[in-house]
Symmetry: C2
Subunit: 337 residues, 2 copies
């Protein structure tokens, strides 16, 4: 089997660490692994397949000889370095939002639109975490029943904002239990015991960037005819995003048929036995690869209405895993050719 | 001014305690205050207007001479005792769900349908917390633009489940910070760092009772023509329910006009300045009386679509305060006659 030289850019971050873990778990055909990060991280070590490897600087020249570079180093680094990496011969799979809406960059969820990998020009973008889990769950429904409109409210974990946010939630909780006024640094407000309806930057139309990503990315990945009305909310959960999704379809459906359809669809695990208190929750989804779907029920306020509850690990399928799967799919497509 | 003999049934519970506090704050015209509770609580003391008062048993005979009895002792106690209390001469204002859908019992939010107090037969029901804050926010919009359909996802605090749930969330968080496996007793799953899409009992149609309350109570209180599609979720917040609400109206609206309308409507405070990171959150709403509305924005996926975010203290406006306001409104109506 052919093997590849693989880099993770942002190797010391939350998503970067998950990428390294998943490269191992998924038996990615790695010949050599090269962890890259900012200059001030150079010399730190990461472990890959039991071997300690020193982090190198992600900069011009560092991408020579690398086949795949998985980027999770923020938008600015991606804007600067991804074209350089491509020039130096890499395929870049980028987890930031920098390239997602570029018409020359495919935005890919392997279960949903792997065909878009066929026209890449070196950079492939990984969608936003909230979009990925929503579209993995809705793609099978759209294929059969044609989704017209989605109303989605998210319940998003703090790990989406990186290590500092995870630490802040835990510190705030600890401080509060000791009667200490908690430090508020990562978010504009205390996140412990709170819900903040504000993720990413507000736009003039009153929506946040996070919300608009769900609209625009759905259009680019699945179907530009689907209308999406989003509300994105941060809650005090460490890892695992949840989404309350209301769907209107063009064609009528039988609710049991929808369940069977989702059950056999790629990347989805059905947890839908309310009589046994069985439904997806962030705590159960954290650390797992699938998109979990439950609370599937007819919405009688529409002719063809459906409510469902979708949960997935935002660091894995929402970020690192999806990126690695893009790489694996590319390899399989090349082998197939 | 006429004064009244007032009882709180379930005086030692979370909502009962809030009722006592609010009777004081709102200067309810109390001649004598009588705390009632279950037999095993008799002799314990509560403080009303600086005076310690011993709890008596809520039982047949205990309601003689009482003008208003505010019940927050659970559905079973209400079913048994409310008719007895009425027979003994009380007006009962009941916070449980036991009487809400009884056609002989008005279900009242003073800002929304105080006119329904005119036909009471001794028992008046206090709506569910999630319904109250939603309808206070939506009533002005319905009056002017006629609401056709609501899609609502809730973010509900644990205090709605009583003291034991508040303690459980805090204990679980503390245990987890010390690496101890947390005890799970009140909810079917760990609530700390989690989101549980399950409040009250599941029905055959896949909805929970909590969700159906929002549908049925909206129909009884505001308008049976409004379609409501609900998802109710418990999150690790102590006090303050939040709701992501998507609304479709019959008539077109200007979004600034909607903001001005809500701003001047009773019981509502607008917190809607996203450019200043100003929007309602449970932490800010806890301990306050109003229903806070923010994130008001047009939903372009409908001809007349609107998204908003509504937060209120579930123990106060969602329970105790609304009950006391029902009592006060009744008194004003009697004086007015």
């Amino acid at each position: 089997m052919k093997t590849y030289t693989v880099a993770v850019v942002g190797a010391l971050g939350v998503v970067g660490s998950a990428m390294i873990e998943i490269l191992e778990e998924q038996n990615f055909p790695v010949k050599e692994f090269i962890p890259l990060d900012q200059a001030d991280q150079v010399g730190k070590e990461v472990v890959f397949r039991g071997e300690k490897i020193k982090v190198k600087e992600a900069t011009k020249g560092a991408f020579e000889g690398i086949d795949f570079a998985f980027f999770s180093a923020g938008g600015e680094a991606s804007l600067e370095l991804a074209p350089i990496a491509v020039e130096e011969g890499c395929v870049v799979i980028d987890n930031s939002s920098a390239w997602r809406m570029d018409p020359n960059v495919p935005l890919v969820i392997p279960e949903v639109n792997s065909h878009d990998l066929d026209w890449h020009h070196g950079i492939i973008a990984n969608p936003n975490c909230s979009t990925i889990q929503m579209l993995v769950a809705l793609k099978p429904i759209h294929d059969v029943y044609t989704i017209k409109r989605i109303v989605v409210s998210t319940y998003q974990a703090v790990s989406g904002s990186g290590k500092s946010a995870m630490e802040e939630l835990q510190m705030q909780t600890q401080d509060l239990s000791q009667g200490i006024a908690p430090l508020v640094e990562v978010y504009p407000h205390q996140i412990a015991y709170n819900a903040i309806p504000h993720i990413d930057v507000f736009q003039n139309n009153g929506y946040t960037k996070e919300e608009l990503k769900m609209v625009q990315e759905t259009h680019k990945i699945l179907d530009s005819a689907i209308k999406v009305s989003p509300t994105a909310v941060r809650i005090p959960v460490i890892t695992g995003h949840a989404e309350s999704i209301n769907v209107e379809t063009e064609k009528p459906f039988n609710i049991e048929a929808v369940k069977r359809l989702l059950e056999k669809s790629p990347g989805i695990t059905l947890w839908d036995a309310p009589e046994k208190n069985r439904y997806p929750m962030p705590l159960d989804a954290a650390g797992k690869d699938e998109v979990f779907v439950g609370r599937i029920r007819r919405d009688d306020t529409l002719e063809n209405g459906l409510n469902l509850w979708v949960v997935s690990d935002n660091l894995r399928k929402g970020a690192a895993l999806n990126a690695i799967q893009i790489g694996l799919t590319l390899i399989h497509k090349t082998i197939g050719k």
